[in-house]
């Protein structure tokens, strides 16, 4: 079973995952994160509590990335184990994300327009 905890670091919504990310847990995680992404321009996923990621898990990440692109939002990833990171690197998935070792590093690396970020979200008319 996968647990999600969410907190805000400035304008960035940080979601910490705890548990394995595989085909069993991925659909629920996908659901929750994509809902969150609708409202949050900056989403950071903390992998420190994820011991293993299967290909379905990685695809969850990529789907989020595609969604974020459509919304013009950004997704960062932090805390991946060297093994998970290597898998992401070898398959090219890593190219899609802002990745760093700590939450602070990713927040710094994300291209944040602070004023824009602190403004109230505008409801899109389309």
């Amino acid at each position: 079973m996968m647990n999600l905890r969410r907190r805000m670091v400035g304008p960035v919504a940080v979601v910490s995952l705890a548990g394995g990310l595989d085909s069993e847990s991925a659909p629920a995680v996908q659901d929750k994160l994509s809902k969150l992404l609708q409202q949050q321009p900056y989403l950071l996923i903390d992998f420190a509590g994820v011991p293993c990621v299967s290909s379905a898990g990685l695809r969850t990440l990529l789907l989020l990335y595609r969604q974020a692109q459509g919304l013009n939002h950004q997704v960062g990833v932090v805390g991946m184990s060297p093994e998970v990171r290597n898998v992401l690197d070898a398959t090219g998935f890593l190219d899609f994300f802002t990745v760093a070792d700590t939450v602070a590093d990713v927040v710094a690396a994300l291209d944040i327009d602070a004023e824009e970020a602190l403004r109230e979200p505008v409801t899109s008319g389309s």
């Binding site: 085909s23 299967s54 290909s55 379905a56 695809r59 690197d89 070898a90 398959t91």
Partner: protein, 711 residues
């Protein structure tokens, strides 16, 4: 687009029956294989004579099946057994087929209901996820198929469609290229490792890599111990396919996670971004199931007499030299091969295919060569494959040699074995080969008259045989490490050891070898046709005289990256010569050159010369030939003059340079008798020559001149 317009559920996405506790319904016969469909997985498999077929499901890593779903007879359409099974976890799933034969078997039936067979269309296999790791000897079902979720994000990747005459092919081995400890990559011996070396390939200047087989094979398939050394000999090359739609998992850093498909696709994407095409060496002439004594993996137990050429008395024809022969002109098998190549071209963005022992593919089911082999015709005209390069190794182990006569539909190229043999003989100084050598240099018009120069894949070396450095260091093969008393491997190497067999301290011999290697590369890259370089030749790779290194997953066969430093001069030379070829369209024209002055520049496209200009010496004892190319630069329309003079005589000659038109003079691009860096300039920075009329060509040397407009 509002999501409500998307089809979310289908009314056929619910089961109609229950078998072995699983909801199922009649499946779709096409596509073959296992396909993810809404709510489930559709399984479809052909067997012409089975009486019963069941899908055997495993949870990944478990020894015993999770379930066995007998496909109800009424689900069969024609001879295709198809079932959709609901509620499966596709990631953890392994599967296979149990196939029962008819009550009264025929002589060529090989049904065995004790076996779980792999799916011929499996997109990944869990046979050996990590290279060289022995499998569990207690696993009764080692050849399990798996599902792949083929939704790779290609972004804007598209085929490069480099005109084939502009290619410079680099033949390499995924594992061998980066497995050596000196490679310095994060994941040695893998697709991901190769990605890290793309800058090296760009630096070298090649624009196409050809990979030795990457379809799933079993490196332990014929593994054995060398009786003398105790060394474990594996099937390192992989010309023994287990599964034709599945990439080799052991070549992926992510094979343990079943992500080999993504990793290979990532490699293709990165290569394309770097302007490099990718050709796969594919082996459709036989399978890993061997002869009568071989294992039942898939085809044998599904429909032996369809997939294999069988003798009237029930034995396997062996035109491949490996036990069996794939029956490729049978309509079912032909369809399988065409589908497979379409899959690789569309799902993996592969740019071309080199067919191992391709002459087998024009034999009928009894092994008789056909005039118009349906498979080869189908591949030549296939709509999906239309932009793919098709390259035949135009011979087989059954004695069919079709270099120049392979059924080609003006579409196929060939590995030009005659190019290799003739140029090697010329290089070592054989008498009486000058005329033939000249024919090879201009794209072998004798063989490919109606097909143009790009039908000819020119090569001096390939994985099979000596490396280039060994071609000039050994007269004879030295295959003792293969454990067959030096009986294996070719004997007609057309090699010359330059005066001493094997390594030597003699500086004269070593200088000659260095020169001979450069002579070979320079001639290869100034020939019409498509040049192919064997990986490692650009840094003087040796296999210590072994000309058949198929079984060595060791430093004997791996690319040693320290040689990029120890032989940096040769690497630089090769890179400059590759770039020189690209810079001179006259060298890589698609057609055979005209010997009349069609461009009206005062010279024919090709003209022949000797010690005196316009006086080639074609006599049997002659070892010197001047080749003057004259074309036009496509961009600026100015003349493109290149003069190649090859001297394989042991003495130097004072050679008259063919006079150029008024206002032009010769400069030197390369001269293999000179020390680095004078042996080859940076293209575009050629060196003025002191005497504009004559040039001193050294013993066993090749020099290349370029026409420059006077300042």
């Amino acid at each position: 687009v509002s999501p409500s317009h998307l089809v979310r559920d289908r009314i056929d996405s619910f089961p109609t029956h229950t078998v072995a506790g699983y909801g199922v319904r009649a499946g779709r016969p096409l596509p073959f294989g296992a396909t993810l469909v809404p709510g489930g997985v559709n399984f479809s498999v052909f067997s012409g004579r089975a009486s019963a077929v069941s899908v055997v499901l495993f949870k990944q890593g478990e020894k015993q099946p999770l379930a066995e779903i007998a496909i109800p007879e009424e689900f069969r359409i024609g001879r295709v057994w198809a079932v959709t099974v609901f509620g499966l976890d596709y990631e953890d799933l392994e599967y296979g087929y149990r196939v029962t034969g008819p009550e009264y078997p025929e002589i060529n039936d090989r049904f065995d209901a004790t076996k779980v067979l792999s799916d011929p269309y499996a997109q990944i296999m869990s046979l050996r996820p990590v290279w060289g790791q022995p499998s569990d000897p207690d696993d009764a079902y080692p050849h399990r198929s798996r599902l792949a979720f083929d939704d790779f994000d290609w972004e804007d990747d598209a085929p490069l469609r480099i005109p084939s005459n502009e290619l410079v092919v680099y033949e390499t081995h995924v594992r061998g290229f980066t497995r050596h400890p000196s490679s310095g990559v994060t994941n040695p011996g893998t697709y991901a490792g190769l990605v890290e070396k793309i800058p090296y390939l760009q630096e070298l200047g090649i624009n196409c890599i050809e990979l030795l087989p990457i379809f799933e094979f079993d490196e332990f398939g014929d593994s054995r111990l060398n009786q003398d050394t105790g060394e474990l000999l594996l099937n390192y090359w992989g010309y023994n396919t287990v599964s034709f739609f599945a990439p080799k998992a052991g070549y992926a850093a992510t094979g343990r996670f079943g992500m080999q498909g993504d990793e290979l696709k990532h490699l293709v994407k990165k290569l394309h971004k770097a302007g490099i095409e990718i050709i796969l060496d594919v082996v459709f002439n036989h399978t890993a199931e061997g002869n009568e004594m071989g294992p039942s993996i898939s085809f044998r137990g599904l429909d032996n007499s369809t997939y294999y050429m069988m003798t009237p008395d029930g034995y396997y024809y062996n035109f491949s030299g490996t036990g069996n022969t794939f029956n490729s002109n049978n309509p079912v098998v032909r369809d399988f091969i065409v589908s497979c190549l379409r899959f690789w071209a569309s799902q993996y963005h592969i740019d071309g295919f080199r067919f191992d022992l391709a002459a087998i593919m024009d034999r009928d089911e009894h092994g008789v060569p056909l005039d118009n082999p349906p498979l080869l015709e189908a591949l030549a005209h296939d709509p999906v494959l239309r932009d793919c390069k098709l390259i035949a190794e135009a011979w087989d182990a059954g004695g069919l040699y079709q270099v120049g006569s392979f059924p080609n539909y003006r579409r196929w190229s060939e590995w030009n074995g005659k190019y290799r043999d003739t140029v090697r003989r010329f290089l070592k100084g054989d008498e009486g080969v000058l005329g033939d050598f000249a024919t090879r240099m201009v794209g072998s018009p004798d063989l490919y008259k109606h097909r143009g120069a790009r039908a000819s894949i020119n090569f001096l070396t390939c994985h099979d045989g000596f490396t280039l450095a060994d071609t000039v260091a050994y007269n004879d093969k030295h295959n003792e490490a293969n454990g067959e008393d030096n009986r294996d491997g070719a004997n007609d190497n057309n090699s010359w050891n330059s005066g001493w067999e094997g390594p030597t301290d003699d500086p004269e011999v070593n200088r000659l070898r260095a020169r001979q290697i450069r002579n070979g590369l320079l001639l290869l890259l100034t020939s019409r046709g498509i040049p192919m370089i064997l990986s490692g030749d650009e840094v003087g790779k040796t296999q210590h005289g072994n000309n058949n290194a198929y079984c060595h997953d060791t430093e004997l066969a791996w690319f040693d990256w320290t040689q990029t430093e120890t032989n940096a001069d040769l690497l630089r030379f090769t890179s400059n010569v590759v770039r020189f070829r690209a810079a001179h369209p006259v060298l890589h024209g698609a057609h055979h050159p005209n010997s009349i002055d069609a461009t009206d520049c005062g010279h024919p496209e090709i003209s022949w010369h000797g010690v005196r200009a316009w006086e080639p010496d074609w006599s049997p004892g002659s070892r010197l030939l001047g080749m003057m190319w004259c074309g036009h630069h496509i961009e600026n329309g100015s003349p493109d003059y290149v003069y190649v003079v090859a001297n394989t005589h042991w003495e130097g000659h004072d050679v008259q340079l063919p006079p150029l038109e008024e206002g032009w003079h010769w400069r030197r691009f390369a001269d293999t008798s000179l020390d680095s860096p004078a042996d080859a300039c940076e293209p575009g920075a050629e060196t003025p020559v002191t005497n504009p009329e004559n040039y001193q060509v050294g013993p066993r040397s090749v020099a290349v001149m370029v026409g420059y407009r006077d300042a």
